[in-house]
Amino acid sequence: MFMGFSCNQPEEITVYDEHLIFPHSFEITVEDYSFDDKSDGNKYFVIADSIADTLGTEPCFRWVNKLNGVNTIAISNEPLVVENYEIVNKASIIWQWHTGMVKNNKDTTASFIEFSEGRQVFNKKILYETQPLPLQNGLYFWAVWKWDKTGKRIIASTEQYSFVVDK
């Protein structure tokens, strides 16, 4: 009774899915979709599986969950590794979008983000002031994760998907 303690600490999520980028979180579902790449006018298909899709230099991203809360999408040039609820190789992230970048007139139920809505990341810093440069040829990885309403912990995430840019 007389010992000091505190309540309302972030509780660990008991769910576990090793396929998710943050295994101790609920799943954000990604379904197969297609989009028109504005840079080359081609239509690309994203198949939500472990095989890398071939996409254009300005890919679009879609997931099922609504945009409420704090969400982020990241493109990295190597597979992201998570240890102890945190991405270890943060420097590999080259492009990122988050909820703060949503335009005010955007439908928050769409969960569809164009490449131009995000920003380039250099040395773990988001370059808010410049438009992102189109992706170079290569193998990339992307994933979505989401924080709880207080921003303290990640409660949901997607699997980590890969794609190839080949002009």
Binding site: S6, N84, G100, T150, G151, K152
Partner: protein, 425 residues
């Protein structure tokens, strides 16, 4: 002497036999009572006279006492003067009768007097013309009576052992209210708790009736009425508590909690001993232990622009974290007015709680007021300034995972209003 004692034994034997016959004839219950109070018929009168004659071998004078309502008046004392000689006292038996043994000379005049408080004064002279006297019938007029019933409360609780003094027609009756008791069926019976009953005799219906109630710790209360105003129902009386305690509250146990309008919440148990230094009884020393629960609200900035977004669904909510800190320590209380006041006893003081989590002493001044609900239980309201340190978790947003946290030693300073219950003895 032996002869006289033998006679007395015979008289008693006859009277006892007579009573047993009445009981045997009538059985138990009300029928016995009815038989008991019935006026005797001529046969019974003669039988009584004959039985006495058989014992004493001479003619005796029998006297019967009745009320004007044709009831036998048993066991009543009369002063009897035969032929203006010595006044003798006679008591009627349970059938309202007694007998006079005449001397050698025939009785000519008998003076009867009855000063029983339940009856109006009887003062009459009976002249006897011959010595074959008929039984003498004395008719007594009962005074008015009422069966007074009262129930005494303190608030809504009946209270026992309340002294009641009933004054009516120059007489005083003292009584006490009843408590609970174990009845004949071994049940704890509180049916008559706080009640008393008293038969009051009065001369005239317009006589005044005064009932005074007194009990330690309560204000005296008086009820006055005319006897004929009493309708027979139970009089309910509520006693007010005294303005001051009737004892010095040396030992005071308290339990208090903060009113739920503050973001910090204190819960504490305490004990205070009121010191008596000569006539000075305004300092109390004791201790207090409990806990303080402080809620600290934090807002965690996440990505830029999110907090400025017009869409409320992007706004990160603030989070409340509650921290509980246990403490125990001494306290000193100083009474600003007389601590025996039941209402609005003012006090101030200071406590020095030792906070177990931080292992530190702090000083907490307080001021409060106390009001007694009954004889030894009181409510108090207390303003207390608390200050202590707390290890608060502070979070930093991490765009690549869960927020990181670190501990900051933060000082908490708050003024809390506490409400408490006090038990004194």
């Amino acid at each position: 002497m032996k002869h006289l004692s033998g006679l007395a034994f015979l008289v008693l034997l006859i009277q006892y036999t007579s009573v047993c016959q009445v009981v045997a004839d009538s059985g138990f219950g009300n029928s016995e009572t009815e038989t008991f109070y019935q006026l005797p018929g001529i046969d019974q009168v003669n039988a009584y006279s004959d039985s006495l004659k058989a014992v004493y071998k001479k003619k005796l004078l029998t006297v019967y006492t009745f009320s004007v309502f044709n009831e036998i008046v048993p066991e009543i004392q009369l002063q009897v003067s035969v032929d203006e000689e010595n006044i003798l006292e006679y008591t009627t038996d349970n059938k309202g009768r007694f007998f006079i043994i005449p001397g050698d000379e025939p009785i000519k005049k008998i003076h009867f007097q009855c000063t029983d408080s339940n009856y109006h004064l009887l003062d009459t002279i009976v002249l006897l013309e011959s010595f074959e006297p008929e039984p003498v019938y004395l008719w007594l007029q009962p005074k008015n009576k009422l069966n007074l019933r009262c129930k005494v409360y303190a608030g809504t609780m009946p209270i026992e052992d309340v002294n009641s003094k009933i004054i009516c027609s120059g007489k005083t009756y003292n009584n006490k209210t009843l408590g609970c008791y174990t009845d004949n069926e071994q049940y704890w019976n509180c049916l008559y708790l706080g009640m008393f009953r008293q038969q009051v005799v009065f001369e005239n219906p317009g006589d005044s009736l005064r009932i005074e109630f007194s009990k330690e710790g309560y204000q005296n209360q008086v009820i006055q009425m005319k006897c004929n105003d009493y309708d027979g129902s139970i009089i309910s009386v509520k006693l007010k508590y005294s303005e001051q305690l009737t004892f010095t509250p040396k030992h005071n146990f308290s339990l208090k909690a903060t009113l739920p309008v503050f973001d910090s919440w204190l819960f504490a148990l305490g004990y205070s001993h009121l010191l008596n230094i000569g006539d000075f009884n305004r300092i109390g020393i004791g201790f207090e232990g409990g806990m303080v629960v402080s809620t600290i609200t934090s807002e965690l900035p996440t990505f830029p622009d999110i907090q400025n977004s017009t869409d409320s669904s992007y706004i990160v909510e603030t989070s409340d974290t509650s921290y509980t800190s246990g403490f125990i320590g001494p306290k000193v209380t100083i009474w600003l007015n007389n601590p025996l006041n039941r209402k609005f006893g003012m006090y101030a003081g200071i406590s020095a709680p030792y906070f177990l989590s931080q292992k530190e002493f702090h000083l907490h001044p307080f001021i409060g007021t106390r009001i007694y609900l009954d004889l030894n239980k009181a409510l108090f309201v207390e303003a207390k300034y608390i200050s202590y340190k707390l290890d608060v978790l502070e979070y930093s947003f991490n765009p690549y995972g869960n927020a990181s946290s670190n501990t900051i030693n933060q000082s908490i300073n708050k003024l809390l209003i506490n409400l408490g219950l006090l038990v004194s003895f």
